[in-house]
Amino acid sequence: MSQPIDSSYLDLDTKDKTFLDSTEMVLNMGPQHPSTHGVLRVILKLDGEKVLGTECVIGYLHRGVEKIGENRTYTMFNPYVDRMDYVAAVSNGLGYCETVEKLLSVEAPPRAQYIRVIMTELCRIASHQVWLGTHALDIGAITPLFYAFRDREEILRIFEKYCGARLTTHAFRIGGCIYEVYDGFEEDVKKYCTFFLPKLDEYEELLTTNRIWVTRTKGVGILKPEDSIALGVTGPVLRASGVKWDLRKAQPYECYKDLDFEIPTGMNGDTYDRYLVRIAEMRQSVRILQQAVERIPTGPIMAKVPKVIKPPVGEVYHSIEAPKGELGYFIVSDGSTQPYRVRVRPPSFVNLQALDSMVRGMLVADVVAVIGTLDIVLGEVDR
């Protein structure tokens, strides 16, 4: 310990000067780095530990979803959208179905709306659980991963019982839902709500006041409200900056206007606030679930939609509040059975763009924290 370090090799007057003097270094992070959540590659320009700039290289998961959409009928394209944000497949499907319904000037019947909202909120919780587990794992806390995935399993079980699939659910159809809820669905959802709230406290016990967690997240990756708006970030990332904006409230779709819930916001726009906002959001989702499950009306679950879907000529942009932010679809119809153009406005793609301004001047370890807090899914970034 007390042995003096031999620093003769650090003699700056030797020929190694060029090497030692060069303060800038370019480091490649990913695409196989475990903390990049899939296949994101970040080229870091560093000065020691300090980040001078970043460049994201994306596209490793590009499957040409928009091109596929142009070559499939409206109905056939529906399952494909589940493969974008695969941890929140239900939300993707909801956004797509609603957009086509808008083109057709159809609205899902009330019963279908409630089923959709319940499924989507369950999916929001599941998505946030994946975020929580992986984000905490990136920062060094292993336990939350097991807790979160253990509790997510119950949601996936409900999904499986409802539509037979756990991940890429294809739960909704254009015009409503194809499946009636199974016997005991309401009980399952209620049971989940009572089961999950104490679990949420458990997560908070592990992290909210944990000194390592607080040190690693407070003041890291700050986004000011004006910057978040300029960069177009949405979802919890925007709300943690203090902008109280949620599409479920701002431009309500489905039956959200009948349900009572709040929009949690943060104050500092740092990683810690984004954590708090998402935790609070899960509580709000439970609140929505508890109300919605009591109020599911009776009636049909499918609107009158022709077998062959041929929307009139026109174009429409519609967006929903996905767990990651504003998920928008811009569909151009030429009156045929296939969309002329499908554009997906992916929240992860736009949010990821903020990475550079969030990590400049911070440390390499913070890059990992910020990637985690942005909650990106590369399947959606690359499409």
Binding site: H62, K67, S105, E107, G232, W245, P312, E315, Y317, F330
Partner: protein
């Protein structure tokens, strides 16, 4: 069939109903003072008739903002059982823009309650800057393009904008020929950076003044722009997959 088209027709106000008050009420409330302030100072000395026009358009505004708006509208376009038809969108913003830019504003329409403005590509940057600075559209939701190979101006560039203060959306579109450059919106909304890169990648449209216009989703040596309509869906198998990965197409 008649039931089908009637059913949706009667239902369609519902989803809009939620949005319509916000969408209709806020533009009249918010940009109105802005237009009023501008009109007298910049335009009114030029033309006498304009203020009366503005007054005329201002008169139906309160009716437009409230629910009864639905009642006076249908008589204007009674023949629409086939489906929703784009109707002209009139507002103070449009009148003000038309006064200022004249024929540069090619079309202002509403379709299914969504407002769309088609402008000439020469005035696009001015319009976008104005939308950002004066009309409160502080959030650029999306930039994308649509390819119409049969048209002379083959590409529609679509800007989806949203205003946080007014809770309203608008689409600004422009049309460009193949090979035309258009100015980047990056100085106006930093979020345009990646969105424009994607449009470049997929459609080959060049944005002037963009800080680093290069492919974003596809490899840099990729040939062609996949979302163009003339890009064959099998082309990638022949052009890239076979050469770089050495696997035969399964298609």
């Amino acid at each position: 069939m008649p039931e089908e088209s009637k059913g949706p027709g009667s239902v369609s106000p519902l989803p809009e109903g939620a949005k319509a008050p916000a969408e209709a009420a806020s533009p009249d409330k918010a940009p109105a003072p802005a237009a009023d302030v501008k009109l007298p100072s910049a335009v009114s000395p030029l033309t006498e008739s304009k203020p009366t026009e503005a007054a005329k358009s201002a008169a139906p505004v309160p009716a437009f903002a409230a629910k009864p708006a639905a009642a006076p509208k249908p008589p204007a376009a009674p023949a629409k059982p086939a489906g929703p038809v784009p109707e002209p969108w009139e507002s103070e913003l449009v009148t003000a823009l038309k006064q200022q830019y004249g024929s540069g504003i090619l079309e202002a329409s509403r379709y299914l309650g969504q407002r769309c403005l088609i402008v000439d590509s020469s005035i696009l940057p001015e319009i976008l800057r104005r939308m950002r600075a004066e009309e409160g559209f502080d959030y650029c939701v999306d930039i994308t393009a649509v390819h119409y190979p049969k048209r002379e101006q083959q590409f529609d560039i679509v800007y989806v904008l949203y205003s946080f203060p007014n809770n309203e959306r608008i689409r600004v579109k422009t049309r460009v020929k193949d090979g035309d450059h258009i100015p980047s919106a990056f100085p106006i909304w930093p979020t345009a950076n990646w969105l424009e890169r994607e449009v470049f990648d997929m459609f080959g449209i060049v944005f002037d003044g963009h800080p680093g216009l290069k492919r974003i989703l596809l490899p840099e040596d990729w040939r062609g722009h996949p979302l163009r309509k003339d890009y064959d869906i099998l082309q990638q198998d022949k052009e890239w997959v076979q050469i770089n990965l050495g696997i035969e197409s399964g298609q």
